[in-house]
């Protein structure tokens, strides 16, 4: 019995029903929302703030993006609306943790619970509508190349925007003075304060950036991947993004790897579901979450920014 199932599983894996080219191509798409949310959170955490509200900001971004996208009939404007929505919600977190010095863990959780409620309320009358969606970029001969064409070229623009943001964040931390200051604030906020940097302002900006990115990630779900609005549609993607930041040891390039790994697991299990493997769908659906836990176990050796999660209060 057990072996039969394994054989079926391997069959489905090998058979033509799952083509590696399509698998990798859809992996790029599946990893985009978490990549966006994770890169935002990475910046927030490098600035020394732990915002556990990613899920809440993502789902708010998803609903804002959807509403704006449908109303204006333009997915691009929808994404802008999503970024704005996520950033505005994150300001709530910023005010509470940076000005009113509340506990970051508790406030982040509150942000998630609040965001889930807010999005459900906002999205009420938008259920069952189909949104305008992004067109795939056609690069002509490049897109027609075998394998490479499908995998690297010919995605929708947001896939490249996400990759661009990751590259941008990498360059920001590596080559710019501002990046160095953000890192200093994250490593030791007292020292950064003593050097005359405005810790609270820098953290406000980082939190806002994180919120905007999470919003974009959410909107990618509601405008491109699904593309519809359903309540609770992020289904833990925000939490997985948080896990990927830990996996990446707070390094942008490693974050790509984490997002692709997660995207790969998601796509594979969806394909296995479609291929009709004799494993109940529910057990397959668990796999991305279990993969995240496994990844966390293997990769929890990284060093977190020194001031991560600590409240900063300038007494003088």
């Amino acid at each position: 019995m057990r072996f039969e199932r394994l054989e079926q599983f391997l069959d489905a894996l090998m058979s033509s029903s799952i083509s590696p080219t399509l698998l990798i191509a859809s992996l790029m798409v599946a990893s985009t929302p978490i990549m966006l949310a994770a890169i935002g959170e990475l910046v927030v955490e490098r600035a020394g703030v732990l915002n556990l509200g990613v899920e809440g900001m993502m789902i708010t971004g998803a609903v804002c993006g959807f509403i704006v996208g449908v109303t204006t009939n333009s997915p691009a404007i929808g994404f802008l609306g999503a970024a704005a929505g996520g950033a505005i919600l994150s300001m709530l977190f910023a005010v509470l943790t940076q000005l009113l010095l509340s506990n970051q863990v508790a406030t982040g959780l509150a942000l998630t619970l609040f965001g889930l409620g807010l999005s459900a309320l906002m999205g009420q009358s938008w259920i069952g509508i189909k949104s305008p969606t992004l067109q795939r970029i056609d690069l002509g001969p490049l897109t027609d190349l075998p394998f490479v064409g499908r995998v690297i070229f010919g995605h929708d623009p947001m896939v490249y925007v996400a990759l661009g943001i990751v590259a941008g964040v990498w360059a920001f931390f590596r080559f710019t003075r501002a990046g160095l200051i953000v890192r200093a604030v994250g490593e030791n906020h007292d020292a950064a304060h003593a050097l005359g940097y405005n810790v609270v302002l820098i953290r406000f900006l980082a939190i806002g950036f994180g919120g905007a990115c999470a919003g974009l990630g959410g909107a990618y779900l509601s405008l491109v991947r699904v593309p519809q609005w359903t309540e609770g549609m992020t289904a833990g993607a925000g939490w997985i993004a948080l896990a990927i930041v830990v996996f990446a040891s707070w390094k942008p390039w490693r974050l790509l790897l984490g997002a692709w790994l997660f995207g790969g697991v998601t796509v594979l299990q969806l394909n296995l579901q479609a291929a009709g493997v004799a494993i109940p769908v529910e057990y397959l659906s668990m796999s991305p979450y279990i993969a995240t836990i496994v990844v966390l176990v293997i990769m929890s050796a990284g060093r977190a920014p020194g001031s991560l999660g600590r409240t900063f209060h300038a007494s003088t």
Partner: protein, 362 residues
Amino acid sequence: MIALERRPQPSQAWSAAAPLLAVLLTMIFGGILFAALGKDPLVAIRTIFWDPLFGEFASFSRPQLLVKAGPLILIAVGLAMGFRAGIWNIGAEGQYILGAICGAAAGLAFYPMEARWLIFPIMVIAGGLGGLLWAMIPGLLKVRFGTNEILVSLMLVYVAEQLLAAMALGTLKNPEGMGFPGSRNLKQWVSSANPELIAGTGMHWGVVAAFIAVIGGYVLLSRHLLGFRIRLAGQSPRAAAFSGVNPNRLILVCLGISGCLAGLAGMFEVSGPAGQITIDFNSGYGFTAIIVAFLGRLHPVGILFAGLLMALTYVGGEVAQLTLQLPGAAIQLFQGMLLFFLLAVDVLTNFRFRFGRREVKA
């Protein structure tokens, strides 16, 4: 210029007043929200907070108060232990589900035997154990590999939800259910039922367990060495290490207690108010309990009141949905707002505002 100045000691008065102020602020801003939705804010607030207790149909809604408050209090008391020690179990929802699955499975294994004295206690133990073991996963991973317990316990909620669906559709499906998903009804089987103990009050064994947990939690935190260690570890991890607190053991104990209580809550729910394992059996108590724990100041007695208040918003929310057509999500938002205001107002416990120009110290 307004500046914050740290108080030499946390203010006792503000610590007690902050939840009340937060409730008041939530009512005001909730009222604005309801007005924005086109409802009369005063009527909405009265429907949520007054009518379930003293309104026309209060005899129907009052028992619901304990039914809803029971699991919330039970879970929140456990969570508060961990939160005090800086151990963040966010996955109570998953432990709640596992408790329900294990409790129901243990009971159904004996179906249709008629032996309440044996089966119900076995179910209680299985429920608590199920939640405990599920919470041990993040606990052991944290102790052994240093994995973040927040993320692991949360991931396990999604795993548990899928497991619940698999159980309702497969393993635990009622063989006489004509193909519909869901287990046998535990409420209608004498051996497994968790009935209302006093008619018209909503009191069931889960509520009794919640009261015991409040008393037990209070004694543990204020009179027992373990409680002292929990508080010490939260306030000063370094001091705790010097006084010989084993942080790993504390992590396991805190997660174990909270997991066990969440599992019990799930078991009492599935055998009582819910009655059976279904795909959407869990209703977010595990997450709302986090709000309850903070609103109750992480203190068992405070949690008792906070749980009752939160249950009131649930019951009142349902009434408002029926009578005012207030969307259900508005209540969820309302509850989230409450936690926000509490966290915001809490600044006054540890700090005071100082007005006027900042002086430059030499």
